[in-house]
């Protein structure tokens, strides 16, 4: 498991998405963690020190796993970049046809499938 800094992590995540377009999955897990072992945590709690929590983010494509940890200060910047990456790559999801009766510009990569014909 590779622990990276937030920025290289985002780059790797992007390339993971790119490589798994034809087949494959991308999993991303978010968990809160203090990154310390239980013993250390107990010690800190006993000493009255406040525990510093970070958000642990892991990503895998089934073969390779990468991870990073984000603290409260950098989390907003990270979440903005993360959102951008997701938006850019989740293109194969279907778009709602309800309002668009004229043309659904859904001629993306794999949108063929079984689309219901429009009712005129």
């Amino acid at each position: 498991m590779v622990l990276l800094q937030p920025d290289p992590f985002l780059n790797e995540l992007t390339s993971m998405f790119e490589h798994s377009t034809e087949k494959g999955t991308v999993w991303v897990t978010l968990k809160r963690s203090s990154l310390k072992s239980k013993v250390q945590r107990n010690k800190m709690a006993a000493a009255g020190e406040p525990l510093e929590y970070r958000c642990l983010i892991r990503a895998t494509n089934g073969k390779k796993t990468i991870s990073t940890s984000v603290g409260p200060k950098d989390h907003q910047r990270f979440q903005a970049s993360y959102a951008t990456i997701l938006k850019a790559h989740m293109t194969s999801l279907k778009k709602r046809e309800r309002k668009d009766k004229k043309k659904v510009a859904g001629a993306d990569k794999k949108e063929g499938g079984s689309k219901k014909p429009k009712r005129a």
Partner: protein
Amino acid sequence: MVYITSWDEFVERSAQLFRADPDSTRYVMKYRHCDGKLVLKVTDDKECLKFKTDQAQDAKKMEKLNNIFFTLMSRGPDADVSEVTGKEQTEAQPGKKGRGRKQ
């Protein structure tokens, strides 16, 4: 698996689950481009909530949920989550809106 059909219910229950046990709750997202499917899972290893979709509009909603989780996880479960915008405006950066601050 416990699939939830309503998005709002999923968000509501996930936030509850997290606040009840922040140390063991995790949020997992699985995306398959070839199938065009997105699955979200929130679990604390005792209870599991899932949500699956193939709609692009749900991806946008998921982004808001991501923001909520990021905030909760990095700042602590008692963090103030402005669920509407997803961005914290409490004390974020006061310098941005100040006009004529620098003289």
